[in-house]
Structures are given as C-alpha cells and as structure tokens.
Amino acid sequence: MKKLAMFAVAAAALVFAAGKVEAAGDLVLTISGSVQYQYSSSITVGKTKTVSFSNATIYNMLSNSIANESNGLAATLPAKGIIKYDPEDSDGKTTGFFYVTDKTNGFYYPLSGYDNNSAYYSFMELDAYIIITNGYDLDLGFGYPYDGSANYTLNAAGSGSLSGKDTAMLFVHDNPYVYDLSESPNNLYEYDNPDYGSEYIYNAFEIQGLMTVSLTYKTGSINGGSLSLTGVGNAMVNGQDQASVISGKASLK
C-alpha cells in the first residue's frame, strides 16, 4: 500500500514536472473587478463593503488553496506565476483549460484535469458555446445555456480569423471539486461531487456576461487573438456567501 501511495505521488509529480508544450495560441489571463459583500460584527450589522480583485488576488487564492490540496494536487506555485488558457486542447474532460506557468515556461500546473484518484478537478473554468455559422461550433468548458455566434474568415490553408460574440461564464474558486456551474450558475452554496460527495466552497468568483471572440488562425490552429468577457456574477468571500461580483472583466490574449 505504501509503495502504491509513493507511486501515485511520483506519478502526480511527473504530471506537473513534465510541463506542457506551449501552443502559439495559448492566451494570458488578465482579470479585474469589484466584489460587494455583507459583513457583520458586534458593531456593524448588515453593512456592505466593496473591494477590488485582480490577477494577484486570484493567484493568491489559488496558491493558498493548491498548497494545501490532497489527492496529488498539492504544489507550490511560483511567486510570479502566469495563468494561461489553452483554448484548443482538452484537460481530459472539456476543451479549453487554464494552467499556471512562469515567464520561462519552466513550470506547469494544470488548473483542471484528473487527480490521483482519477477524479476530475477544476479550479477554473470558462464556459461558452459558440455557434459558428460556417464551421464547427466552439464548445468551451462545460458549454453555456445561452449560445452566441461567430464567423470564420479563413483561407484555403485554414489561416484567417474567427470573430463574434457569445454569453459566457468564468468561474474560479478554491475548491477543485466544485465545478460545472454552467447549468445552474447561481449555485455556489453546496455541491454534490460525483467522486467525493458533498463539497463546500470558501472563496469563489463568477463573471457571467458577454464575451467578445476575436481569434486568429494559422493552418487550422489558433495562434493568437483574444477572448474578452465582461459581466457580473455570484461570489463567496472568506466563507461569506452574500457576495456578488458587481463588475468583472476577464481578458485572455
């Protein structure tokens, strides 16, 4: 049993150390916004507070959470890590996934995938279903109930662009076993994970809104461009669920 556990840990370490061949079309996440939440103490009852969040906030939340994970997910993220998004490849369950890397691309930690127990985990998801009128639809993450549309302008070699608009949801949180809120985006409060049962969440942010799609293609693969999502959503702040993202912007470029 001990040997088995050691093998599992070694296997997980290999997954994270193996790295990822960064595709030309991988996009860097920039996120910012403001959250309003209620706070109460013996002095203040029912007061609201508005605070800001940015890349550093989200990264800090993920770093703290990942450092204390189990099931082979624990890792120390680099101090100045970068969150990137691969819009074309799969994490084993969905197309399009986030990962942490650094400036030299020498570090790789997938923010969704499978843990040591072959259970799916996800700290971050971008859900969108983009109907492409002249090509295959783009189904990112767990899809999203409100479909958008986009058009390719490609030449015979598959080079050109894709542009359009779609409703989408970005969900980032500290419990990797709470995922896929695409069908019930208001449900941050309790969650029955198919692998681990009832899960609770302590910090989470949603941005639901309109996403501008402007991707460039070279010989059939994404090689640049941007996805830009602006909106509002639910939030959990330090276990306080009476919170909302009152303005949020996530840009992947």
């Binding site: 959250v35 800001s52 800090n60 409060y189 309790e190 609770y200």
Partner: protein
Amino acid sequence: MRPKIVLGLLLAALLAFGALLLLKLQTRNKPAAPVEVAPAAPAAPEAANPPPLPAVPPPVAQAPHVWTDDERQAEIDRLQDWSRNDDPESLSNILLDLTNSEKDVREAAIEAAKQFGSTNAIPTLKAAAVNSTDTDEQIELLQAANFLALPPLSFSPPTPEQVEAAKQIQAQRAAQRQAHMQQNQGQGQNPPSSPPQGSGQP
C-alpha cells in the same frame, strides 16, 4: 529696458520653449525605457542680467515613430512584466506608457496600472483622462482610477470553526431549498426546468 533688448529676450525664450517641446515629443514617441525619478534640483537664483541663451535651431516637425507589430507586442509584454513587480521604477514605466503614441500600448498600460495595484497611479490616470481626446479611453482611465481607489480584497484562511460553520449554513440552505421544492411539488407546481439555486448536481 530698451524695446530691442526686450524683443531679443522674448525671441530667445520662444526658441527655448520650442526646443523643449521638440524634446518632449521625441521622448513620447520612443519605446518606454526605465525612467529614473531624480530629486528636484534647487531653483537657481534669478540673475540680474541673465547670459544670452545659446542659439537653438528652430523646431523641425518630425513624423512620429511608427511602431512595428513586434515593437508594440514587446512593449505590451514589458508592461505585463512590470505589472507583476512591486517597485517604483516599474510603476513609473507603466505610467509613462499611458501617453504612448500607440493606442494598444496605452490600453495595456491602463490594465497594467490596475494590476500593479498602487494608489500612487490615481493622479496620473486622472490627468491622462483629462488630456485624452478619446472618450472611451477617458472612461477606461477614470474606471481604472476608481478601481485603484477601492481596497483590495484580502483573504483570511478559514479556521476549523469557520469551516464547520460554513458547512452547517450550506447544509441548512440545502435543507430549506429541498423543503421548498417538496412544498411546491405538493401544491402541484412543476419544478423549474433548470436546477434551482442549491440543487447542485454537476
């Protein structure tokens, strides 16, 4: 003073102003380099008879530097790097690019200022908004200033008691929702087609 001397002094001052303006324009169109914030020099005492200013060539209108795609992208990459730092030089570089001649670079500079997260950037963002002629950019600059005026969210790690309390609250909510759904079904109402808040199946 005699009118000729006054006229000469005015002409010299005009030439000096023109030279300064030219120098400023050239600096704005260069790719941003680290800016050193030097301490202000003490003001020189006003001379009774100032020496004549050196002859300055009249300003020549120069076409602004046209950035290549690579130069533009390199500057945007540098802005992203600076936004992850925590030193005055990086902030100074970011703020300098708020007035860059390239719109893409200016946009990246606004975002970098937000990500850097220093309230010291607020006056420069507001000043840039006043000087900008682009309404969308003015809005972005002012929104960035407002964003930086907010306190940043900080996380407090949960204590075991908080974890337990949060679990209990969530369990209570689940029970309440379940009871509410059963009540609705008992009254012959159809359950909503999509899972309601708290029904929670992935």
